[in-house]
């Protein structure tokens, strides 16, 4: 499938969870292979030209015992000019062809039958994920199945934006593609190893651009299937816990439902993340904090303390109300 | 002046690109079909190029009175064009309900035609200033090359109109 299979098999210890030189997915791999070629050529050019520059600076420096005469004046040479014009032209051509090949490899392939389709909608400052075929809606943490080269199950992402420009960048999975309002884009990933892969928004979108983090969970087909099952369920019954049910009343009364959806309840706002299965996520505020009871409480008490300038207002709840709503949220598994 | 014309042309090119890009893309509201081709006022503006040329020729031959006459005619023709634009816009706004806010067509149309009208206005002010100097006898034969440079600007404004006219009233409709 690619000519550097040997390199691919070399265990590469990623220098960081977002190391572009540690691909685990086909498009990232194609880019990596191309990058080695480009680095090789540019590195070679650097070595040659820098050596010539250094040599000339040393060899032709004015010596201490200089006689003050001017050196021979050379005005130019057509042959030399031709030589160092043609060589770069050829190098550029080669680079261009190698690049063009990878562009075609990565852009707009046809999705194979096993592909998972996800619609990504970028918001200030969180990610909305919808799996239209699988009827799942979630936010901020994307789950996809690992892809087996024998029966590939890549994930194809359609990228939209609800407000300003964003960019989806998880370096170990693929190059970035922007989410631009009124300009749908698409990209694909084909992860070959399970695990959690990190990234973040890569197009300045406003105050909290820095905390619009990405978390992609690549799971075995079984784990993925059971995650889908969980996510499909609507909220079962009213919470048994008194505080939680009090919290639900507050939630539905104090305008939370204007922004948030909790399936199976009157809450069907689309401005903020879907909270139906909030507790199935490891983080809140698009990766900005771990999803614990304390953090949840702190978040709804004053979102600006964690993400100053985010779009969620503090609802001015008192301590009792905060406890109640937190209890309700914690019940949303 | 040629450099200035080059720079100004670049501005108009970008606006024309925007106009063409957005042709047919308005989500709602009036379309270019409502435009009435302003033949008379276009003829006025284009013939003003001929009259300004005549004015400059006269001045370079030393004929100050002919220069003053043709120069004034140029201003009148230019002003007529502006008046015509004003009437057209009034019609579009009051009768057709098309404003710069209405839709993409409104935005691009008014901006493009408006920027051109702004350039016509600035040109008219410059021409008027020369006229005033002329009344006081300050504009004589040696000034002909400088007046010629100003007339270049006026020709540019006309050429822009030819392009805008073609794009808006023919290609875009």
């Amino acid at each position: 499938m690619n000519s550097t299979t040997a390199l691919w098999e070399l265990p590469h210890r990623a220098l960081s969870p977002t190391d572009i030189f540690a691909p685990v997915s086909t498009p990232a791999q194609s880019i990596f292979d191309l990058s080695l070629f480009v680095l090789g050529i540019t590195g070679g050019i650097f070595v040659v030209v820098a050596a010539l520059l250094s040599y000339s600076a040393i060899r032709f420096r004015k010596r201490k015992n200089d006689d003050g005469r001017e050196p021979a004046q050379v005005y130019g040479s057509l042959q030399v000019e031709l030589a160092w014009t043609l060589t770069p032209v050829l190098i550029s051509l080669v680079l261009f062809l190698a690049t063009a090949r990878v562009i075609f490899q990565i852009q707009h392939p046809a999705p194979p039958p096993g592909a998972v389709e996800v619609t990504v909608i970028g918001h200030q400052f969180w990610w909305e994920y919808r799996y239209p075929g699988l009827k799942v809606v979630t936010a901020n943490e994307l789950h996809v199945p690992v892809s087996d080269p024998a029966h590939p199950t890549p994930t194809f992402l359609k990228l939209y934006s609800a407000d300003t420009d964003h960019s989806w960048w998880v370096p170990r999975l693929a190059g970035k593609t922007d989410l631009i309002p009124n300009h749908p884009n698409s990209m694909w990933i084909e992860p070959r190893e399970t695990g959690l892969y990190l990234g973040q928004c890569a197009q300045y979108c406003g105050t909290q651009h820095a905390k619009m983090l990405l978390r992609v969970y690549v799971e075995s087909p079984e784990d993925f299937a059971s995650w889908i099952q969980e996510q499909r369920q609507t909220v079962q019954t009213a919470p048994s816990d008194g505080t939680a049910s009090e919290g639900r009343k507050i939630f539905e009364r104090v305008a939370c439902i204007n922004c948030h959806t909790v399936a199976g309840t009157p809450a069907n706002g689309r401005f903020g993340p879907d909270l139906t299965h909030l507790m199935s996520r490891e983080t809140i505020a698009s990766g900005a904090a771990p999803n614990t009871r304390e953090n949840l409480r702190r978040w709804i008490e004053n979102p600006n303390a964690l993400k100053p300038g985010c779009k969620m207002p503090a609802m001015g709840l008192n301590n009792q109300q905060l406890d109640a709503v937190t209890a309700y949220l914690v019940s949303l598994r | 002046m040629y450099c200035l014309i080059a720079a100004e042309s670049a501005i108009f090119v970008i606006l024309i690109v925007a106009y063409l890009f957005y042709v047919g893309k308005s989500l709602s509201g009036p379309t270019p079909a409502i435009l009435r081709v302003p033949v008379l006022f276009t003829v006025c503006l284009l013939s003003s190029s001929l009259t300004i040329h005549a004015a400059v020729k006269s001045l370079s031959r030393g004929n100050d009175r002919a220069f003053g006459f043709w120069w004034l005619v140029t201003i009148v023709l230019g002003a007529t064009f502006l008046v015509g634009t004003a009437f057209e816009w009034r019609h579009l706004i009051h009768d057709e309900g098309l404003t710069i806010q209405t839709n993409l067509f409104g935005t691009t149309y008014y901006t493009l035609v408006g920027l051109h009208a702004f350039h016509v206005t600035v040109g008219l002010l410059a021409l008027a200033a020369v006229s005033i100097f002329g009344f006081f006898g300050q504009v004589r034969k040696p000034d002909a090359p400088r007046v010629d440079v100003l007339s270049l600007y006026w020709h540019f404004v006309d050429v822009v109109w030819v392009v805008v006219f073609t794009v808006v009233y023919f290609i875009g409709r």
Partner: protein, 555 residues
């Protein structure tokens, strides 16, 4: 052997107010040049402070030195300031000062337009900085632009940027843009019409050719920005929909219009740096520039091709494969004439006798650093590689390598080279060497290591970052480099001031150079030349100094 003309320093004392008045109403190209340069240096310090604030905030993850609102204003203002109110005025200032002197003219073609352009540009800068105290904004006091220096739509729409921060950005650049066009018109008219007798286009200094090309690019490139800004103002204040995606408008078209300006703009910034190198390297290698006609052709090629590469800033936007390929090709194409220039400078040094004075040191660094910058540019031009590296700190490192490593270093070289001419005094070579080494170390600490976080996934324009991504150590090193750069700049400013007041008399030709500006007094009198020079070759002073072996025999 050098030609030396001494002017007795006898000038009557003039009251300070009158001196100030003379400077304000001046139309003399030399004074306007110095005004541009002084203005730019002040903004260099301010822009540097803005960068320092950002670097302190980023020295460790989750730092709380600067809030996100302030940080976002810092990177916007830093970029806008450095490009429009530091490098552009520096470039215009040097062009203004040097062009008439180097082509044997008495002044620029349109002195009053010259002054008008300067004051427009100056006003633009003041307006931009007024934003810190003027107007109202969503986040309280301080309303400086925070939309990034390229102000992408729809972030700049009223919906997402209420308040006036975007308007300060738009209006200040609109105004200074008109000033830039005025200066460009002046440069073109001067170079085409005011050369002294005997100086055909083929005999004028490369600096003149390069500034001519730069001016042509300004004419063609600033206008798209002006047009786009007019459209933005229509959107924001007249309810227009140019970039209103809700009404069917396009955010991508803003990007196209901006980068049609933005890319030639960076060539406007770098081509004068080439000009300085092309004047300094020959003199300090004691050889004529190698391949003058090819250098001219390469410059024109660069200018021409630079108008066709703009969408390499948009590889991640989702253009068609065909579009992506076109811009890959055009960007790689522009690398060819650029490389040719590097080779020609190398060939100029080859076989010469290199004097390692401050101007040459800076130009040598320029050569190495421009080479590296060009190579990282080639990496970025490969679209799929760009899909990883784009919008990350790799890009930030690349363009700072060009703007600081190449352009600013060449500018420092130019400062030291022409300081004796403009002031009549010699600068301190020791202090200049301090400046060079401190700044070199700082530059490399900051910008070499800045490539690494980019390759490890760190995007740009983020006010903080998560721990555990491997970015901490690199950010720390990058910030430390700032200290060395600041120290270098301090040495530079000290040198300028100290030498101006107490430097040794430089004479008219301290470098034994060959172009016309060295044939007149230091500083030049207001009329520049006592008699109009007549030239027969590209190096008129070489002909005078070497009558047995003049250039015109070989050209």
């Amino acid at each position: 052997m050098s030609i030396s003309l001494e002017l007795p320093r006898t000038q009557p004392a003039i009251p300070f107010v009158d001196k100030l008045h003379q400077w304000v109403i001046t139309v003399d190209h030399k004074r306007l040049g110095l005004l541009y340069i002084t203005y730019a240096l002040s903004f260099l310090l301010i822009g540097g402070i803005e960068a320092t604030i950002m670097r302190i905030q980023l020295i460790r993850p989750h730092n709380d030195f600067a809030s996100p609102q302030v940080f976002n204003q810092m990177f916007t203002m830093h970029g806008t300031t450095m490009i429009f109110f530091v490098v552009m005025p520096l470039v215009f200032g040097f062009a203004n000062y040097l062009l008439p002197l180097m082509i044997g003219a008495r002044d620029m073609a349109f002195p009053r337009l010259n002054a008008f352009s300067f004051w427009l540009m100056a006003f633009g800068g003041i307006l931009l900085y007024f934003s810190f105290i003027g107007g109202y904004g969503l986040y309280g006091a301080g309303n400086a632009p925070d939309v990034g220096w390229f102000a992408y739509a729809p972030l700049t729409a009223q919906t997402f940027s209420p308040g006036h921060s975007t308007d300060f950005w738009t209006l200040s650049l609109l105004v200074s843009g008109f000033g830039s066009i005025g200066t460009a018109i002046n440069i073109i008219a001067t170079v085409l019409c005011m050369r002294c007798p005997g100086m055909t286009l083929g005999r004028m200094p490369l600096l003149a050719w390069l500034n001519l090309t730069m001016a042509g690019l300004v004419i063609l490139a600033i206008s798209p920005l002006t047009a786009a800004q007019i459209m933005l103002l229509v959107d924001r204040y007249l309810g227009g929909h140019f970039f209103d995606t809700q009404a069917g408008g396009s955010a991508v078209i803003w990007m196209h219009f901006f980068w049609v300006f933005g890319h030639p703009e960076v060539y406007v910034l770098v081509i004068p740096a080439f000009a300085f190198a092309s004047e300094i390297i020959p003199v300090f290698s004691r050889k004529a520039i190698f391949g003058y006609p090819v250098m001219v052709a390469a410059t024109l090629a660069i200018g021409f091709i630079s108008m066709s590469v703009w969408a390499h800033h948009m590889f991640t936007v989702g253009m068609t494969s065909a579009a992506n390929m076109f811009f890959v090709l055009s960007t790689m194409a522009i690398a060819v004439p650029t490389g040719i220039k590097i080779f020609n400078w190398l060939a100029t040094m080859w076989g010469g006798k290199i004097h390692f004075r401050a101007p040459m040191l800076f130009c040598l660094a320029f050569l190495f650093q421009f080479l590296i910058a060009g190579l990282t540019g080639i990496m970025l031009s490969s679209a799929p590689f760009n899909w990883q590296l784009g919008n990350s700190y790799f890009v930030v490192a690349h363009f700072h390598y060009v703007i600081v490593g190449a352009i600013l270093f060449a500018l420092f070289g130019a400062f030291y080279y022409w300081f004796p001419k403009a002031s009549g005094r010699m600068y301190s070579e020791t202090l200049a060497k301090f400046h060079f080494w401190l700044f070199l170390i700082g530059f490399h600490l900051t910008f070499d290591f800045m490539h690494v976080p980019g390759m490890l996934g760190m995007p740009r324009r983020i006010y903080t970052y998560e721990p555990g991504r491997g970015w901490e150590i690199w950010n720390l090193i990058v910030t430390i480099g700032v200290l060395f750069q600041a120290a270098g700049i301090l040495a530079f400013v000290a040198n300028l001031f100290g030498s101006y007041f107490r430097g040794k008399n430089a004479g008219s030709d301290p470098w034994d150079a060959w172009t016309l500006e060295w044939s007149t007094h230091s500083p030049p009198p207001e009329y520049n030349f006592e008699t109009v020079p007549v030239v027969k070759s590209r190096r008129p002073l070489w002909d005078l100094k070497h009558p047995e072996d003049p250039d015109w025999k070989y050209e």
